[in-house]
Amino acid sequence: MKWTKLGKIFDPTEHSLSNNCVEFAQSPHALVLRDRVRVYFSTRERDKIGKYLSHVAFVDFAKNMQNIIDISKHTIIELGKLGCFDEHGIFPIHVARDGDRVLAYTAGWNRKISVSVDASIGLAISHDDGRTFQKYGNGPIMTASLNEPFLIGDAFVALFGGSYHMWYIYGTKWKKFKESDPPDRVYKIAHAISEDGINWHRDGRQIIADRLNIDECQALPTVFHRDETYHMYFCYRQAHGFRKKRNNAYRLGYAYSNDLINWERNDNKAGIDVSEEGWDSQMQCYPHVFKSGENFYLLYNGNEFGRFGFGLAVLEK
């Protein structure tokens, strides 16, 4: 794999966003439409007590992925009601075309007391090409279970071989690395399968081997099929000190599979890494691969988890 970087293509601070959002365009996800590519992302507002709420917005690019045609001015999907799993944010939102509909798999966030947050995966459905989404119930379609005790999120769904496949993450532990710091979380990538996209059967195991250590955090799997092989990009980091220290921060990882079940990790073949300087020099995270025309594109965030936008790369043929 070899990716050519096309640079940062969207900066949220240069635009007026809905829901009082000011910064962050995190975890870009593409929906390829007839005349444009709609890129969803999560952006943030400060609530009454000064904490962040993540909202979903989108920006429409012309097919050349350079010209911005439109930017959402409305609420695409409401945050959850009082006490619901997605009351305090939706991040990320993954969209998948399903006939006339567009399915959205959301990670909903809710704030806790002993640890900062929990998350579950929700479903929402659009009948207007992804302009607005209606929730499939007030609760999640996938949440904590016997061996996946918390932090279920980052769903990526694709139809392969007549079945819906989901790659997602689940939390394995909350750990206090330093007495003076709040607990940090550890999460891993897993896989589930479904006949209807709603009811999921989970494999119940970590599918991507750790590279750093047992506390490695793995996130945002994105999977595509090319040259008879399934390819997965994801991001990974150290569990502690990942915000400020460059070496502990998110990097892009890569794995491949022939059967969608067994994955061989080989980050050296990812074909993309942090830049020497500039917007993606400290970290790279939240990758999303999509095909538009004959090209495979990679959307991703750079420094500060996407506070100042996302960038694009294209796969060399």
Partner: protein, 323 residues
């Protein structure tokens, strides 16, 4: 109509001063019958923390099978630990329901977690004992029954039964959180799920018991017993507001069913109401009905949601469960 003779309070946790985790409350009684004694599992609480928050622990007492008002033994330590940091049962395991299956004993329990915008949330966990119910180990760090699209929060109040070779779980699911002048108050309703192994569940997906106090009625503790070809459910219900005193507090309701799915509510024949005065004069709740040596008994909690202990009643007449 069922007629219950109240035999009085059998246990008051405040009588045992040296048990730090059992300062107050004996909630959600559930029995396991042994040759010489009846073990009553319940949930007890240490004193609240300075910010008025409680933990809740699984405990038990052993009652003399020949004289249920005689306590033979009180457990020395909590018999199930609380969950790890960030897990669904980090702050409590309450309410509970216990069942024996061959050489293991299972407890299904509600795990308590604390949230920012609402005070708490719950999901249902499972722990197993291989020492005849003396101690329990959780099956996993997460819940066996949790949230879904139409059950968005507050799963709890499990009652586990095995009928017709299948596992059945009656439980409650939250409907909505109501904003009040102080803290939000939940509304929850009785539901049911079935399973081949007691671990993987299929939810029925409907409210079983018609509300009597309006759409915001809270229903809990669906205690089901099978007699004379029918399923009988004693449960508790209350108003969603001002429920901490006599007026809006918990009462015991009753419903029956021939198929476990369609229930006919008929509180008038439950036969168990608050007393004129004393420990159960403001509320009665969390009924648990069991058969012992040819007699039918009900354990239940009284005022202040069981703060001062558990009481016992005996069914006197009719023994006709067909009515």
């Amino acid at each position: 109509m069922f007629k219950w003779k109240k035999l009085g309070k059998v246990f008051d946790p405040r009588d045992y001063k040296n048990k730090s985790w059992m300062q107050e409350f004996a909630q959600s009684p559930s029995v396991l019958i042994f040759e010489k004694h009846v073990r009553v599992y319940f949930c007890s609480r240490p004193s609240p923390t300075p910010d008025d928050q409680y933990l809740s622990f699984l405990s038990y007492i052993d009652l003399d099978r020949q004289n249920l008002l005689r306590i033979l033994n009180v457990c020395g330590i909590p018999i199930l630990s609380l969950g790890a940091l960030g897990t669904f049962d980090e702050f409590g395991t309450n309410p509970i329901s216990v069942i024996r299956v061959q050489d293991e004993v299972r407890v299904y329990y509600t795990g308590w977690t604390r949230c920012e915008s609402v005070p708490f949330n719950g999901a249902i966990g499972l722990a197993i004992s291989h020492d005849n119910g003396d101690s329990f180990t959780r099956l996993g760090e997460g819940p066996v029954l949790s949230y879904s699209p139409d059950e968005p929060f507050l799963l709890g109040s499990p009652r586990i039964r095995k009928y017709l070779g299948k596992w059945h779980l009656w439980y409650i699911a939250g409907k909505e959180w109501l904003q009040t002048d102080t803290k939000p108050e939940p509304v929850y309703k009785i539901r049911m799920a079935s399973s081949e192994d007691g671990i993987n569940w299929i939810k029925l997906g409907k409210d079983l018991i018609q509300s009597k106090l309006g759409e915001h009625e809270c229903q809990a503790c669906p205690d089901v017993t099978f007699r004379e070809g029918k399923y009988h459910m004693f449960f508790s219900y209350r108003h969603s507001h001002n429920y901490k005193g006599k007026e809006g507090g918990y009462r015991i309701g009753y419903a029956s069913s021939v198929d476990m799915i369609n229930w006919n509510r008929c509180d008038e024949i439950a036969g168990m109401n608050v007393s004129e005065n004393g420990w159960d004069s403001e509320m009665v709740s969390y009924p648990h009905v069991f058969l012992l040596d040819g007699e039918t008994y009900m354990l239940y909690q009284g005022n202040e949601m069981g703060r001062t202990g558990i009481g016992l009643a005996k069914l006197t007449s009719p023994q006709n469960w067909c009515s």
